[in-house]
């Protein structure tokens, strides 16, 4: 796992080596082991290395033996051994044992279609000196980040936005429509980022730059069958799922450095840890977060899983004060506003992993999205059930089965619960039926925007933008499959794998690997009938069946508790931090111009008085504070010479 960057001159001239050096220097946290640049007139590639495979021979930027192709690569191609054998049979020669060289030769053999052969998580740039062509590519799910921008004479790309902003010609400006998206969907819609004119390579896409033209070429997207079978035989499906996950884990243990495991106490990471133990046949080192606040803590399940699997386990305790203390660093790495503090404890966790000498961890990400785990799927199922018989007196009672871990929702009177999760005829007909409650609730935060921002985003509707890009088969999918698609397409890459994933682990030079996101697992899961993934209201039903007896019974039976962290209250009361008070002050709010000072003051007062308890208040506070931090760190404090994380905030 590494950091990459590069510059392509589009109108002649030579790449500025110093500029390239400044870009890669900002990414040293992603690759602290080595750093190098390659400049050849119009192209410059740079690499910051975290050595994991072929420690001696894998230095980058790397070229083919004949020097025709050059690459800078961040990530892993887990099936590189098999591809290498295949390419060797076809006559390709290799000078190293690295997966990087396998990409180069696969590109030489298959061209841009080489990505179809890869099983992995990657962001790479290949420069073809003969064709004078640059190929930027990102893995199917967006595990690894890749951003780009254009200046009048160049195209610049990098693993993180902060590297692009070292270039004086790249303006640092918040994209207000992207902000509108985050305050609705929690994420920006690719290729947008939070910054104007800075784009991400969308997951499952390659970008080709040749003769000054930039074209985006999608090569993969999750898809589902249009019909569902109701009489699937579960046992063979469970066996196949187990086999696929074993295989996905086996190739994800390929590494020349030790691999650890995140063990949250939930089903998914217990499964990945169990598979790891079985395959590696060794004592696993596992790591977890515990919370001082019992509402969020899962230590008892972590201990149970660790004992059952015989792991050597270490945890780090996270308090509200910790979250307030590290939140500026968290936003420095997310590079976008967030409406939850949940990335912060993961920042601490990767620090613990790194302190213990580990560079690689296996995690359970992806299981909820592809195997029917999320509460939003259950919510959609219940709402769909209610809508089919609106007059029913007993069906609304099922709403109490939603979010059992959220006390303030459980205390809500029935009439209000029903209203919040109500289904109108319009909702029922909406292509976004499953996501309307979440998106509508989040969109209420936009009332905090200043008059100027509201005027600028006036007629913009993010849902229209999503609707315009839906694949044609979407309209034939059930509401359940549509919900899965929306989660996998937007929240997974835009928040789970980035804000909570890559950006938090790579802040401490730790690479996460995700067996559930092996494309063979995802493609298999996409074909499963919905009622096998969630049987009645039993989330991840088939996964539980596949691992029956292989993990503790208590972990299989426990009620689902999504990973959450203390939110807005972290920044007030005993844990109050100076930077938050300053950034939330009317003067600072007015100066940045994004939010309405009076509205933010009302919100702050509510928190100071201890009266802010709702989901909306918490999301609003974190949304405002993280946006203010982003503006402060990336715009107000921007230095044209260099960018550093402000050590104070």
């Amino acid at each position: 796992m590494c950091g990459i960057s590069g510059i392509l001159k589009l109108t002649g001239g030579r790449v500025d080596r110093n500029q390239l050096g400044r870009m890669i220097a900002t990414l040293s946290h992603r690759g602290p082991d080595a750093s190098a640049v390659h400049v050849a007139t119009a192209i410059g590639l740079a690499h910051a290395r975290l050595s994991i495979i072929d420690l001696e021979g894998g230095a980058q930027p790397m070229s083919t033996i004949d020097g025709r192709l050059w690459i800078t690569f961040n990530g892993e191609i887990f099936n590189y051994i098999e591809i290498r054998e295949e390419l060797s049979r076809k006559g390709h020669r290799f000078a190293t044992r690295s997966d990087t060289e396998v990409i180069l030769n696969a590109y030489r053999e298959y061209g841009e279609d080489c990505v179809h052969h890869f099983n992995g998580q990657w962001a790479f740039a290949i420069w073809d000196t003969e064709a004078q062509k640059l190929v930027l590519s990102r893995d199917r799910f967006g595990v690894r980040p890749l951003f780009y921008t254009r200046t009048p004479d160049s195209l610049l790309f990098a693993s993180e936005i902060k590297a692009l902003l070292t270039c004086p010609q790249v303006p640092a400006e918040i994209d207000l429509e992207a902000l509108d998206q985050i305050f609705t969907f929690w994420v920006t819609l690719p290729p947008r980022t939070a910054f104007k004119n800075i784009f991400q390579v969308p997951p499952g896409c390659s970008i080709i730059v040749q003769n000054g033209e930039v074209s985006v070429r999608p090569y993969w997207s999750v898809s589902y069958p249009g019909t569902e079978s109701n009489d699937a035989d579960e046992q063979p499906l469970a066996e196949e799922l187990l086999h696929l996950l074993e295989e996905a884990t086996r190739i994800r243990l390929r590494s020349d450095v030790p691999v650890g495991a995140y063990l949250s106490g939930g089903l998914d990471s217990t499964i990945t840890t169990a598979l790891m133990r079985k395959i590696a046949n060794d004592r696993v080192r596992s790591f977890s977060i515990t919370f001082a606040d019992a509402e969020f803590d899962e230590q008892c399940y972590q201990d149970e899983a660790s004992t059952f699997l015989g792991t050597q386990h270490q945890n780090i305790r996270c308090s509200s004060a910790d979250i307030a203390r590290i939140f500026p660093q968290v936003i420095w790495h997310t590079e976008q506003p967030v409406i939850r503090t949940a990335p912060a404890p993961l920042f601490l966790l990767s620090g613990l992993v790194r302190e213990n000498g580990f560079k690689v961890v296996l995690t359970g990400e992806g299981a909820d999205e592809v195997l029917g785990g999320y509460d939003i799927f259950k919510e959609a199922k219940i709402r769909n059930f209610l809508a089919r018989s609106p007059e029913s007196r007993w069906r609304p009672l099922l709403l109490r089965r939603l979010y059992p871990y959220m006390g303030n929702i459980q205390r809500q009177p029935a009439a209000y619960l029903e209203h919040f999760f109500r289904v109108t005829a319009k909702d029922f007909a909406s292509p976004f039926f499953s996501h309307l409650p979440r998106w509508e609730l989040t969109a209420k935060l936009k009332s905090l925007f200043s008059a100027e921002v509201r005027e600028a985003t006036g007629s913009y509707a993010g849902t229209r933008e999503i609707e315009d890009t839906l694949p044609p088969p979407y309209w034939s999918w059930s509401y359940f499959r549509r919900a899965e698609y929306l989660e996998a397409k937007y929240l997974l890459p835009g928040y789970i794998l980035s804000c909570q994933g890559d950006r938090m682990s790579m802040a401490h030079s730790v690479e996460g690997r995700h067996p559930f996101l092996d494309h063979r697992v995802v493609e298999f899961a996409a074909k499963l009938p919905s009622n096998v993934k969630m049987k009645v209201l039993d989330q991840k039903h088939l996964l539980k069946r596949a691992f029956d007896g292989l993990i503790p019974e208590s972990i299989v039976r426990r009620p689902k508790q999504p990973y959450r962290a203390p939110d807005g209250k972290c920044f007030f009361g005993a844990a109050a931090v100076d930077y938050a008070q300053e950034l939330l002050s009317p003067d600072c709010i007015r100066k940045n111009g994004i939010f309405e000072p009076q509205a933010v003051t009302s919100l702050v007062t509510k928190f100071r008085n201890g009266r802010a308890n709702s989901v909306k208040d918490n999301m609003a506070m974190i949304g405002v504070l993280s946006t203010q931090l982003l503006v402060h760190q990336f715009i107000t404090q921007r230095s044209q010479e260099y960018m550093y994380a402000d050590t104070r905030y």
Binding site: P413, F420, N613
Partner: protein, 86 residues
């Protein structure tokens, strides 16, 4: 306390607690649910406020939109409760 004063206090509470955007008009008969002012947990805050400010006990079966879904209805409901206590 006159109903009009209760209405003014409830209006002020709703504005400062639920309405980030203070330029939005809130009429006495506006539905707090339909206007999106009371979110999934907001009614609990409203009940807390009423019990504390007017020293009344809001029974579970009284937490229904007919009583609490507009500033005017809330004021009438509180007025009824206070009259009953008196």
């Amino acid at each position: 306390m006159p109903t009009r004063d209760i209405e003014r206090e409830v209006h002020s509470f709703v504005i400062s607690n639920f309405l980030f955007d203070q330029s939005v008009d809130l009429e006495p008969d506006d539905s707090l649910l339909d206007k999106g002012l009371i979110d999934s947990t907001g009614v609990i805050e409203l009940v807390d406020f009423l019990e504390e400010r007017y020293a009344i006990k809001v029974e579970d079966d009284e937490v229904i939109p007919a009583n609490l879904d507009s500033v005017r209805n809330v004021a009438k409901y509180v007025d009824r409760k206070l009259t009953r206590v008196a």
